[in-house]
Amino acid sequence: MKFKLSKYIAATEPLNPESRNKERILFSTRTGISMLISESFYSTLQHGEFDKIDLPRLTKLMDYELIVPEETDEFQEIIAINRLGVKDTRGIAMTIQATANCQLGCFYCGQSHTKHVMSEEIQEKLMDRLNYLLAEKKDADGMSVTWYGGEPLMAYSTILNLSNRIIALARERKIPYSSNMITNGLSLKKDIFRELYLNHHVHRFQITVDTTKEHHDKRRITKGGTETFDIIMNNILEITSEDYYTAKVKRPIFVRMNIDVTNYQDVTSFIDRLCDLGLKDKVDLGFSPLNNWGEKTAGDDVGLDVMTFAEWEIEWFMYAYKKGFNIDYILPQRNFATCMVVDEHSEVYDAYGNITPCYEFPYTPKYNEEKYIIGNLLKESDTYNHKTEVRGWYDDLSEYKVPKCSKCNLFPVCNGECPKKWYNGEGECPSMKANMEDRLVLQYLMDKSNLKTL
């Protein structure tokens, strides 16, 4: 059998160009393996001189899928493996958006908020749907719920009610259960956190703080215009100072920053602020580019271009790492599912009973069309549309409808990142496409040295 070097690799330039024994980092996106490789060995691989490699090392390179059979159509193979990987997933993942209400009026939010909360009738139907999914997936080995909205805590009692019922069902079926919440943090008082964290398995709370007070209070304000930075930060401080904060996981709170041209230069100031407040060991950090959302085009208007974001992202990783935040691993990992939309056992339920494949669809007028909606819990399941546009992502990819993806060396660790964006004609590669080499070098330095001393 003849072999070839996989097209799914990324490589750095030589790390030590002045050295006699030059080395670079080679990364297999088929497996997520990165390796330090000598220049001569790299040249051997590039020239396909595999007969010069001894059998033990050759076997390893095949294990790591850096070398693949010559006749392999790697793109089609990766999609086929992805489909099987998704099919083999034995978890049932639900996103429950129990209310269309939210206190905030962020300029970039594409949702249309109302005071509507999920009725008891719809909650009942949701439990029926979960039982149906469990009956369909008899080998289910996990159930997970993401609580989202609107602002989920504006339907707190509904969440507690549903959570109790889902946990009871998971116990009855002896299936592990996990949960997380995406919240603006405004109502996340310590008593509420304690209840959800200790008694409802919510072990991850994503709270968005758009960097410093100056920026946050211009954009994440209430519909009445009230500032929210101090309230949210105070909530975080109170929660993280409780004894039980690390009882279940090390860092239950994840602080997400939406970053654009107006606030990117103050990301490091915000990191300093979090550090001054003693939060470096207590929260995780996430840097997110501001994107379009539904009919709101904030991404086009004030978003950073990918290249600029990617360059700054490396600086933020380095800065946060040096400050002592948990920035341990920044390389992408092989994943079989682009996101929830490709998994038919992953569904989103909103307060009106609508079932959608993507959590960005509920309450967002742009996605009211039939092609985005699977069905409604109040209707019979034989009326459901299992061929919503985004669910066909792997079919469309396999027909080469997204050339950027079929030609991309990072495809196995990206899979297109956000299918919805491509269908909207807003397809843009994630930052790793622009900063992969820097990520590889930074990861190497974090592993091999101590950046803090450099």
Binding site: S34, D88, E315, Q333, D447
Partner: protein, 71 residues
Amino acid sequence: MRSQNLKMALQKFNEANDSSQEDQGFEVLNFQEASLARGGVLDCTCNNGSSYTKPTQTNCTCNSGSSYAAA
């Protein structure tokens, strides 16, 4: 590499760790993380791309009844 700060950090690292070793071929840097992402161990590969039933086990048992190709 685009980041000037990263370039400087790498340069300092190189100065402190001048490698005069002979050609070692390659050294895997992240075996553990990559193994976890695949839900198993990288020295065995499920033959249909399925993940592993028990992430920490080393006998390469694949789920959904698929077999595996051991290295």
